[in-house]
């Protein structure tokens, strides 16, 4: 390791020691511990606010983004050191957001200098919370059939239509949105990528209640919403490219979700806790199901590891995000089902007096969406058949 990097490590360690509040060195216990930022966000504690401000000031909420847009400007190696040092003291991420995971990377790749200047610093400082406007009612996996229209009127677009499955649209400040700017062009031609303020006149949202009891998604309505033409990212009619880029991103995030805890002895340990040390011996068929699952989960975990190692070694096979999304989500659904079996009637609890009652059932129900959102399992299999296997007519 280079001297410069060692110096950086020492400085970083000292800075974190001095600036990370003690309260922010505890593991995240529930969603309410996460800092999502945005105009409507209410900090849970002074420490949470302070930690965000201090990190944002250094650009370390987004360590590898350019300094001129509010990022940290760190090299890959420096960012790795920062991550290691944060892990060393169990420091929480100062900020989580769709802006960081999704829009930021897309803007850095496709946005103009002005757009980057206008929007990226707000993401980096946690001032603006973004949501994603892709799906529309009745479209499902067929994203390219979207109908929300954006008609140019002078130097503004007038947007009309409806989006669905917009995550936390009711808490977001701005939306990045796929709209149809050229109604005459077929399917995914004629689609553009537009940014606008959720506070604009004509925007309204309505939460969707899910079978899990949660409402993380909304329906979002646009009624003659006026958006400056300058808010169109990339070329007009080329929004599909940006969407595809982001979908691949999303797929990787969902595929990897929860997978950390899937492999190894996670489930058998839980079964022992629930059924007693020898409980599984009395339930040979359940034990068999657990073994089969653990083997698949472990094999999948090793495959995630191998894919990363190969990418590092420049040997990547490419187009694996569909595989990870498909297999990872199917595995997680299976895992949640097995956990429900292990817990028996306790798993059926919906609400109760103790903290955590009902969590298992809700997370089981939540998992059923894994293979639907971010491109269904069927769509991922189509993609593998077409792009990887190059099967005809796929």
């Amino acid at each position: 390791m280079s001297d410069a990097l060692e110096t950086f490590r020492a400085e970083t360690r000292a800075w974190l020691e001095a600036n990370c509040p003690a309260e922010m060195r505890e593991p995240v216990k529930s969603d309410s511990d996460v800092c999502w930022g945005g105009r409507k966000f209410r900090f849970k504690s002074e420490a949470q606010k302070l930690w965000l401000e201090r990190m944002a000031a250094k650009g370390w909420t987004v360590p590898e983004w350019p300094r001129e847009y509010g990022g940290g400007g760190l090299s890959k190696d420096e960012a790795k050191v920062l991550a290691q040092e944060m892990r060393r003291i169990s420091a929480r991420p100062p900020l989580s957001s769709f802006g960081i995971w999704m829009l930021g990377p897309a803007l850095l790749k496709y946005g103009s200098h002005e757009q980057k200047l206008a929007h990226i610093p707000g993401i980096a400082r946690g001032e603006i919370r973004w949501c994603q406007g892709y799906s529309e009612p009745g479209a499902g996996s067929d994203l390219a059939s979207l109908r929300t229209s954006a008609v140019l009127d002078g130097d503004e677009y007038i947007v009309n239509g409806q989006k669905v499955w917009t995550s936390y649209a009711d808490r977001a400040d701005w939306i990045f949105c796929l709209v149809r700017t050229d109604p005459d062009k077929p399917k995914h031609l004629g689609i553009s990528f537009l940014l606008f303020d959720m506070a604009s006149p004509g925007v309204s949202t309505s939460p969707i209640k899910l079978i899990s009891g949660y409402s993380p998604f909304c329906q979002t309505f646009f009624d003659d919403v006026r958006v400056p033409a300058a808010n169109l990212v990339g070329e007009r009619g080329k929004g599909w490219d940006i969407a595809k880029y982001l979908l691949t991103h999303e797929r990787e995030m969902i595929g990897g979700m929860d997978m950390g805890s899937t492999g190894r002895d996670g489930m058998s340990a839980m079964a022992k806790k629930a059924l007693g040390e020898d409980g599984l011996k009395a339930e040979p068929l359940l034990r068999a199901d657990i073994v089969r699952h653990e083997m698949d989960a472990w094999a999948f975990g090793l495959t995630m590891e191998r894919v990363k190692d190969e990418a590092k070694a420049g040997q990547g096979v490419g187009a694996l995000s569909s595989m990870l999304k498909y297999y990872g989500t199917e595995l997680n659904k299976n895992r949640q089902q097995l956990l429900m079996s292990i817990k028996g009637s306790d798993g059926l609890l919906w609400e109760g007096e103790e903290r955590g009652d009902g969590d298992l059932a809700k997370s089981w129900l939540r998992s059923r969406a894994n293979s639907i959102e971010g491109g269904t399992s069927e769509v991922q299999l189509n993609i593998i058949a077409k792009r990887v296997l190059e099967l005809p007519g796929a």
Binding site: S135, G138, A139, G140, S141, D142, S145, V164, W165, I208, K209, L210, I211, G213, A274, L275, G279, A282, E283, P284, L285, L286, A288, D289, K333, Q337, M340, S341, I342, K343, G344, S345, D346, G347, L348, L349, W350, E351, G352, G358, A361, W364, L365, R368, A369, S371, I372, E373, T376, S377, E378, L381
Partner: protein
């Protein structure tokens, strides 16, 4: 015995299907859930079920019942599954009726069964103590006291326990925990001193309660069957319950599958009906076969109970395990093929998935019954 319904049974099926579709469709479950109804079912519906002869379907005519047996009870429960109707049918008319008919004294039968059949008396079976079904695992103790016993222990997952007028409690009068010998069944008044019943809010909006017994005094006359010989009686009642749960899961599978096939025919994507995608066609065709298999094993199990077939436990475990797997597959596929809309609470399919899961876990899932079947067949 031929694997078909006789004329009487076919009539009961028709009556039951019409009745529940008319009086207790899924919308009714949604209404009760959203209203956070304290009872968890509609007493008016239950009265009508009693009038139809459903409440006492398995009670002999001599005690005011319809005397129609388990195939008939299963057909009613299948219709319940198709409509996700809420009622105390399983707890009262299946589980408790089975215990009393098979093991009750003449006095107990005369006192309880006619009221059960008229719908006046609700009962519940308090046997399970562990979250994963293990029927011989009874820690609740019954210690001799006065002319009876004092009961102390905890029961989990007591179906309809919170509305029952009388509980049937399995307690240990001898043997070690998990021994089959030494278990005795008792009639317990939930209003008696030392009984605490608490309703638990369940994923499928059904009624389940935990019951705590703290030195509850019962009479010698409250013993059902032989002291120490309750396990056989409990098993018989559980097998009736399991066979009826299999029938219910068959109903759940049937409706989920039908909804899915309809959706495949209506929904368009990429410019065509999604039912024209061959991958979905093959999965739907496979599911069709599985539902047909579920229908066969469900009917055989119910028939075997009516016939007093010695292999009845084998057929019951086969049905509970196989139909349980089919119901899981049918509801999973239903949600997946419905896509996003299937995940929303506004749409009904989620209720079916929740019920399939709960019915699976109740009285042993497919792993439990697969293992039981293997043991019964000596391997």
């Amino acid at each position: 015995m031929a694997l078909v319904l006789n004329d009487e049974q076919a009539m009961i099926r028709e009556a039951a299907e019409g009745f529940f579709a008319d009086h207790a469709p899924v919308a009714e479950l949604r209404r009760l859930r959203d209203a956070k109804d304290a009872t968890g079912f509609d007493r008016g519906l239950w009265a009508k079920m009693a009038e139809m002869g459903f409440a006492g379907v398995a009670v002999p005519e001599a005690y005011g019942g319809a005397g129609l047996g388990w195939v008939a009870a299963g057909l009613i429960q299948e219709a319940i599954g198709k409509n996700l109707s809420l009622s105390p049918f399983l707890a009262t008319s299946v589980l408790s009726a089975a215990v009393l008919v098979k093991g009750g004294s003449e006095e107990q039968k005369a006192a309880l069964l006619p009221k059960l059949a008229t719908g006046e008396l609700l009962l519940a079976l308090a046997s399970d103590e562990r979250a994963r079904h293990a029927p011989s695992h009874v820690e609740t103790r019954a210690e001799p006291s006065g002319n009876g016993f004092r009961l102390t222990g905890k029961k989990a997952h007591v179906l309809d326990g919170h509305v029952a007028d009388r509980l049937i409690v399995a307690a240990r009068t001898g043997g070690e925990v998990a021994d089959k010998a030494g278990i005795t069944l008792f009639l317990v008044d939930p209003k008696a001193a030392g009984v605490r019943v608490e309703r638990r809010s369940m994923v499928d909006s059904r009624n389940s309660a935990s019951v705590v017994l703290e030195g509850v005094q019962v009479d010698g006359a409250d013993v059902i069957g032989e002291v120490g010989g309750g396990y056989a009686l409990l098993t018989a009642a559980l097998d009736a319950g399991r066979a009826c749960l299999a029938a219910e899961m068959l109903g759940v599978s049937h409706t989920s599958f039908a909804m899915t096939v309809d959706y495949l025919k209506q929904r368009e994507q990429f410019g065509v009906k999604i039912g024209s995608f061959q991958a979905l066609q093959h999965r739907a065709a496979h599911l069709f076969c599985e539902v047909e298999l579920a229908r066969s094993v469900s009917l055989r199990a119910l028939q075997a109970l009516d016939d007093g077939d010695v292999r009845a436990p084998v057929f019951v475990s086969l049905a509970k395990a196989k139909v349980g797997e089919v119901a899981k597959l049918a509801t999973n596929e239903a949600v997946q093929m419905h896509g996003g809309i299937g995940m929303t609470d506004d749409f009904d399919i989620g209720f079916f998935m929740k019920r399939a899961r709960a019915a699976n876990e109740t009285f042993g899932d497919s792993a439990f019954h697969g293992d039981r079947l293997a043991r019964l067949m000596n391997y």
